[in-house]
Every structure is written in structure tokens, then in C-alpha cells.
């Protein structure tokens, strides 16, 4: 208590000191300050008098701590997010580690030209779009269907246990998932043996370009179907039960209730999620590809990000890889901006 009084007194002193800055509206400023030294309350806006920088100066004085803390955060973002963006400049240079970034020779768009002229450009763009597209086509509706099913199941414990199990694969590390996949799809693995029942030759499935894409996509669906359904299950649990009762009275069967009550309740959420997925269409990470692929399936497996990794960090072709990576980030950014614009227009929701 003693200390509390102390700091209260100190605060009063501060108020007195600050008063001159408030100008003619001094009383107002004092109340605002008295209320909000921590940036907490302050129903009244800071005084609108004076120029922007004058007000900024007052604001900094008032929230010195907040500005200091923010400085740390800004420093982090500048160093680890914005400096690498600037580092993309090597895409326009012929970067030689011995010379450093500044002294390396400018080559303008040569690296981009090299990439688009190479046969690999079409291959990696096609594969990225194909894998991402399939992932969206199968992986997007799957959690919705699962959520609708969970919504129909009544047994409380059955539901709880199966839900918990269905989220589990999401938490198993990618290395383990891919390790198990490689084991299961080897020539005497579980999946291969099951497929031989349907007339597929016993072989290492992952080295066959035909199967690689499906293994990649379906394992992704397997890993995320349960986790992805959470958001839809939560939305469904908020649906007014009276709607279902009304539908029953009108003579709707179970399937009709699913189609005419449950599904419309999910529509806004589906729209938002779909738009976000479109925004991520070209941003397929390299991790899983690197774990699963091998030279024999590059033709269908190699994606933009894995190509960037191989070219840059394995073959030390920094400038070229940076150019390809930059091309990909620009596309990703444009897609997100477009998706967000679309979302704002059509479902009145936006990411920022």
C-alpha cells in the first residue's frame, strides 16, 4: 500500500509537469493523463491541436514505455523480415560470395530470363499448381464433410474420442509422417500391399511419378482433415436448434436438414476459408517435398520452393535461386491481395 501511494503521488507530479504541453485545453489533458498513463483508459482523444509531429511528440512522452517496447519489435521485424526482402536485390545481380552483395555485378533481369527460358520453369510452376490445386480440390471439402458428419453423430463419448483421434496426425511432426509414408509405400509396405489387391504392381510407390502426387496430396488430407474440421464443428454447434426442429415439422428428412440448415450455416465460413486457400495457391512449402521426393520423380514432384532450395543452397546458385524465389513471393503476395479484395467485396470480410 505504501508503495502504491508513492507512485500515485509521483503521477500527480508528472501531471503537473505535463500540463504546459496541453496548451489551452490543459484541464482536459490532465484528466486524460490522469486516467491513462499506461495507455489504458483515456476516453477523450489526445488534443487535436498542433501538427502531426507535435501530437506524436506528446504521444511519445505519454507512452514512452510503449514506444520503447515497440522499438524492440520493429527492430526484430526490420532485421529478420525486411532486410531479407531487401536482400532479394541479389536476384538482379551476379552474386559472388567473395565479392559481397554491394560489389557483385548488376545483371538486371538476366536471372529471371534464364529461369523462364529453362525447361524447369514450366515444370516447377505446373507441379506447384497441380499439387496445390489437388490439395485444394480434395483437402478443402473434406473437413467440411467430416464436420457435417460429426454434427449428425449423437454418442457423446464416441464423438469426443473420435474427434481427439482425428486431430492427432496434425501434431505428429512432418519428419515422422514422411518417414511412415516412405515405409508404408515401399515395395512391401502396408499401402503397397493393400493396392496390390486392386491390381497394382508391388513397387516403391514414391519413386513412381504417377503415384507420388497422390501420396503427397492424400497424406496431406489425412494429416489435416480432423484439424481443419474444428472450425466448422464450432460453427455448427452455434446453429439454433429451433431451425432443425422447424425443418422437421415442415417434413424435412435428415439429408434435407443437412443440405438446407447445416450447410447454409457454414456458408460464410466456407467462403472465407476458400478465399484464403486461393490466396495460398502458389505458396507450397518445400519441407514435405524435400522429405518425400527423389531424382526419379522430379518431373512431377519438383515444386518452385524445392527448386529454389536445390538451386540455391545445394548448388550455390544464389542469384538465380533468389530470382525464382522472388518471382514466387511476388505471385503469392498478389494472390493474397487479390483474394482479400475479393473477400472484402463479396463476403465483407478481410484479412487486414
Amino acid at each position: 500500500m505504501h508503495r502504491d501511494f508513492d507512485s500515485l503521488n509521483k503521477r500527480k507530479d508528472l501531471e503537473r509537469e505535463n500540463r504546459p504541453f496541453g496548451g489551452k485545453r490543459g484541464t482536459n489533458v490532465t484528466t486524460a493523463e490522469g486516467r491513462a498513463p499506461g495507455g489504458a483508459g483515456g476516453r477523450r482523444d489526445p488534443p487535436k491541436k498542433g501538427g502531426y509531429f507535435y501530437r506524436l511528440g506528446l504521444n511519445i512522452k505519454k507512452y514512452t514505455l510503449v514506444y520503447l517496447l515497440m522499438l524492440v519489435i520493429v527492430a526484430y521485424y526490420v532485421l529478420f523480415h525486411y532486410v531479407p526482402l531487401l536482400g532479394n536485390i541479389i536476384a538482379f545481380k551476379d552474386f559472388k560470395p567473395a565479392l559481397g552483395i554491394a560489389d557483385s555485378e548488376w545483371v538486371r533481369l538476366q536471372n529471371f530470363r534464364d529461369f523462364f527460358k529453362s525447361p524447369f520453369a514450366w515444370r516447377v510452376i505446373r507441379n506447384t499448381l497441380k499439387i496445390s490445386g489437388l490439395q485444394m480440390l480434395i483437402g478443402f471439402p473434406a473437413p467440411i464433410i467430416l464436420a457435417l458428419m460429426f454434427n449428425e453423430v449423437r454418442g457423446k463419448y464416441f464423438k469426443k474420442i473420435t474427434q481427439t483421434i482425428s486431430y492427432l496426425p496434425h501434431f505428429i511432426s512432418l519428419v515422422v509422417v514422411c518417414g511412415i509414408l516412405i515405409d508404408f509405400t515401399s515395395s512391401d509396405g502396408v499401402i503397397t500391399k493393400l493396392l496390390t489387391l486392386f491390381g497394382v504392381d508391388s513397387q516403391n510407390l514414391l519413386t513412381n511419378p504417377k503415384y507420388y502426387v497422390w501420396i503427397f496430396v492424400l497424406s496431406g488430407v489425412w494429416q489435416n482433415i480432423g484439424w481443419g474440421s474444428i472450425i466448422y464443428i464450432a460453427t455448427l454447434s452455434g446453429v439454433d436448434q429451433a431451425l432443425y426442429e422447424a425443418a422437421s415439422i415442415d417434413g424435412a428428412g435428415r439429408l434435407q436438414k443437412i443440405i438446407h440448415v447445416s450447410l447454409p450455416a457454414l456458408t460464410p465460413m466456407i467462403a472465407i476459408q476458400l478465399i484464403m486457400r486461393v490466396g495460398n495457391l502458389m505458396s507450397l512449402g518445400a519441407e514435405k517435398t524435400i522429405l518425400l521426393y527423389g531424382p526419379s520423380v522430379y518431373e512431377t514432384a519438383d515444386t518452385i520452393s524445392s527448386y529454389v532450395y536445390r538451386m540455391g543452397l545445394q548448388q550455390r546458385n544464389y542469384s538465380f535461386a533468389a530470382a525464382v524465389g522472388m518471382f514466387n513471393s511476388v505471385i503469392n503476395f498478389l494472390l493474397v491481395v487479390f483474394a482479400n479484395w475479393f473477400s472484402r467485396k463479396c463476403v465483407e470480410e478481410s484479412l487486414w
Partner: protein, 299 residues
């Protein structure tokens, strides 16, 4: 049916459609759960089976074949597994600690109502989430900062997860301002408000974020592979596991004497490295689920 009607006389008799829908859902969900559970069970059974039988086994394994802990013995005798474990524990504790400090600092600043640069800084941060640099400039930056092949390269660059930061900001800005005003009247300083009011009131959100960070660190391997090319002793567990489980099975040319244990070691290593997640998962599952809902709330 009759019995259930007697128990609950208000219940409407199920139509044929009801029975079909119910059965279909239950069967589908049961099959899916089996699909989600089976791979781990297979690995578990294989890891405690007789190594020779595992070597010649093909197809599904529904029960351990024979019993032997040789795979575990060989796994736990490996130095790299222990080193990987120690490194991962370091990355998880120190990394998550730094994550939490930075996230709370950033979220605190961004949630202050009268902070003038709030909007500009939010934009600055969100932009970095959608316009990202590829791995090449990142690699060169780490090289320039002399972070390559040090532990810090796995901790500092990921000190803030922007998504978690935004979730935390939303949570903090939802604390009723009356509480803060009351605290100020009682003479609390900014730091006291943060530690005695804001943090205790957003404990649930913080727990969720902490879990996501920790699991992220536990499962991470890609940055270690890219940024620790010469420091095998600093490898996290997942990267060691990758060498045992994936790299080895891609080139099966080593003709070691102890090679018949290879398969068993693979399975045992998976179990050893996933056990912590499997043990805590059932208890913490509900927090993760809460986390998904937090993330979907726009700040």
C-alpha cells in the same frame, strides 16, 4: 429401439433415412479414426517386434511379431539421439521463452488504445506476413550476421510468430478498460498493470500460444537443415530422426553387420521422438482446439 423409447418417451422413432445416415456417419468416422491411429500403432508394434521378423515383414502389422527391445537398445545407445534430444529441449525452452516475451511485448504495445502509431505498425507487421523473402536472402542474412552454424539461428529469426502476435493483441485489447482504470487509481504502474492485470486475465490465450510455439519448435527441422550445414552437434531431434528414418532408407547400401537392426531402430526412433507429444496430447488437446477458434477471431 423399443427400450430406448421406453427410457425417453418423447423421442421420435427413427425413420429409415435416419438409420442410414447414422450408420453411414458412424462407420465413416470410425474408419477415419482407425486410419489416423493405425500408422502410429504399426510403428509401435514394429518397434517392439523381433528385429529379424520386422526385416522380412510385409504388409499390415496388427500385433507385435515376437518381442524384443533390441531396437530401443540400439536407438538409445546412439549418441546423436541423446544429443538431438538435448538440443531440441534447449530450442523448445529457450525458443519458446523468447517467443512469449517478444509476443507479449509486441501485443501489449499494439493493444494500447491511444498509441498513435498503432495502425501504421500493424500494417508494417501484417505486410511482412504476406510478403515473405525466400530462403536464399534469409540464408545470406544469417551468414552476414554470423549466425550460421550456431544455436541462435534456430531461435532468433523466429522470435515472433506474427499470427500468434495478432491473436495475443486481440486478447489484450479485450480486457475491460475499467479494470486498468481501477488499477491506475490504485496507483499501479504500467508494468504492474501488465503483470498483475493483463497477463493474469489473458492466461488462457497465453497458454494456447505457448503450446503452439512449443510444438512448433519440437517439430521443426527445415531451418536446422538449411542453417546448420556444418554443425551436426547442434542438430535438433527431428533432423537426427530424418537421417535415421528417411535418408538411410533412401540409400540402403550400407552393409553393416548390425544392419539387420536398421528397421527396428527406425521404428524405435520414431516412438522415442514422438512419445512426448503423444503423452501430452490427450490432456492438452482442448487447448489446441481453443487455439483454432482464437485464430479465427479477427483482431
Amino acid at each position: 429401439m423399443v427400450r430406448s423409447n421406453r427410457k425417453n418417451p418423447n423421442r421420435i422413432r427413427r425413420s429409415k433415412e435416419d438409420i442410414v445416415v447414422d450408420t453411414f456417419c458412424v462407420v465413416f468416422i470410425t474408419l477415419l479414426s482407425l486410419c489416423c491411429l493405425y500408422p502410429m500403432l504399426h510403428v509401435l508394434f514394429a518397434s517392439i517386434s523381433d528385429p529379424v521378423k520386422v526385416l522380412f515383414h510385409s504388409g499390415p502389422m496388427l500385433w507385435p511379431e515376437g518381442f524384443s527391445l533390441a531396437g530401443y537398445k540400439a536407438t538409445l545407445a546412439r549418441r546423436d539421439i541423446w544429443l538431438g534430444y538435448a538440443n531440441t529441449i534447449f530450442y523448445v525452452t529457450v525458443g519458446t521463452g523468447l517467443n512469449m516475451v517478444m509476443t507479449v511485448i509486441g501485443a501489449y504495445a499494439l493493444s494500447r488504445r491511444d498509441f498513435m502509431l498503432k495502425r501504421a505498425l500493424s500494417l508494417f507487421i501484417v505486410f511482412s506476413m504476406y510478403f515473405t523473402a525466400s530462403i536464399i536472402p534469409n540464408y545470406l542474412l544469417m551468414k552476414g550476421l554470423h549466425l550460421l552454424n550456431t544455436r541462435w539461428v534456430l531461435i532468433l529469426p523466429g522470435a515472433i510468430g506474427t499470427h500468434n502476435l495478432l491473436v495475443m493483441r486481440t486478447a489484450l485489447s479485450r480486457v475491460p478498460r475499467e479494470l486498468e482504470e481501477a488499477a491506475i487509481l490504485d496507483g499501479a504502474s504500467d508494468m504492474q498493470i501488465l503483470f498483475h492485470i493483463l497477463i493474469p486475465l489473458t492466461k488462457a490465450t497465453m497458454a494456447v500460444i505457448l503450446l503452439f510455439y512449443a510444438v512448433g519448435h519440437w517439430n521443426a527441422w527445415f531451418n536446422a537443415m538449411a542453417f546448420l550445414p556444418l554443425a551436426k552437434d547442434l542438430y535438433p531431434l527431428q533432423l537426427v530422426l530424418r537421417q535415421i528414418v528417411i535418408t538411410n532408407s533412401q540409400d540402403q547400401s550400407t552393409g553393416d553387420v548390425a544392419d539387420f537392426l536398421g528397421e527396428s531402430v527406425k521404428y524405435a526412433a520414431i516412438i522415442v521422438s514422438t512419445l512426448p507429444i503423444l503423452c501430452i496430447y490427450p490432456f492438452l488437446q482442448k487447448y489446441f482446439v481453443k487455439g483454432v477458434m482464437l485464430g479465427s477471431v479477427k483482431g
